[in-house]
Amino acid sequence: MARKIVITSGKGGVGKTTVTANLGGALANLGERVALIDVDLGLNNLDVVMGVENKIAYDMQDILEGRCRIKQALVEDREKKNLFILPSGNLSPNSSISGQQIKLIIEGISDTFDYVLIDCPAGIDIGFHRAVSCADEAIVIATPSLTSLRDADKVITVLKSYALDSIGLVVNRARGDLMMSEKMMMPSEIESLLKTELVGVIPEEDCVFLTGGYPLFKNSDSYKAYKILAQNVHKKTKKIFDVTSKYSGFFGSIRRSIKKSI
């Protein structure tokens, strides 16, 4: 039976789709069978981030209208044989597809996978509820900005009205240099502010842009951070990637001043 985890945030553009793709990749690296489901109907981008947009033969609508079986609509990752994506297709965000229908699709593949990660749309309206109603667990993504944190808190409040098994927090786009110079809140401060268990910290890195979001360069810090996040999710460990370590000590202070000057 797969663990069904919705990746949500409230605020748009904070990294839900990027986290869905890379957490999926990192869980697949641990040997888990993973399916990524795009429930951001209408603004579906997961296929693009995963780089499989040209491999799509069927989508969610085709499954629901009986034009294909669920497994025919799953698109295999470009590298990993145990990672798949289920694209939503060009549906309207106000599509009449219900959470219940998506839930049935997920149930249909639940035995074949260890993890189903659900990429949720921004906001807390119908699309959000459609995505959350399919999940047993939630991961809330927040960046260290005031607006993102405020929205994350609202989302966490709404998530608490669902009977979820767990709600975890991922701080994305963390800047170690700014944290060292007391200009950005530390992940631990964000964790206590939102009263939600921190399961991962992902650094802000150019490589996310340069790679198109997935797969990340294997020697990058964000790649390492995703590996730790996947272990925390899978083995319930509590390790957190330290974004500040690179900027402490003598060489760190040089790195900080270089970063400051650009």
Binding site: D153, T157, K160, S161, K183, M184, L193
Partner: protein, 77 residues
Amino acid sequence: MKKEKQLTRIQSLIENDRCSVKDDFTNLLIVDLIKTLKEYFDFNDIPKVSVERKGDRHLLDISLLVINAKKFSSIPK
């Protein structure tokens, strides 16, 4: 913006969001609470009151440091 300032701002933003009633509501409640609680306790502080949204319910939290509880006989019938 310095981190400390960000933290104070976001803390007050979140507190306001979590609190599901307006300031007037809390102020009136505090006045009434003081009236009632004075019958039972001696205290100099003002009760701290928060109404926080908890999923689809609200949690009313009242906290007050009292000097002592009045003797029962002093409670008016």
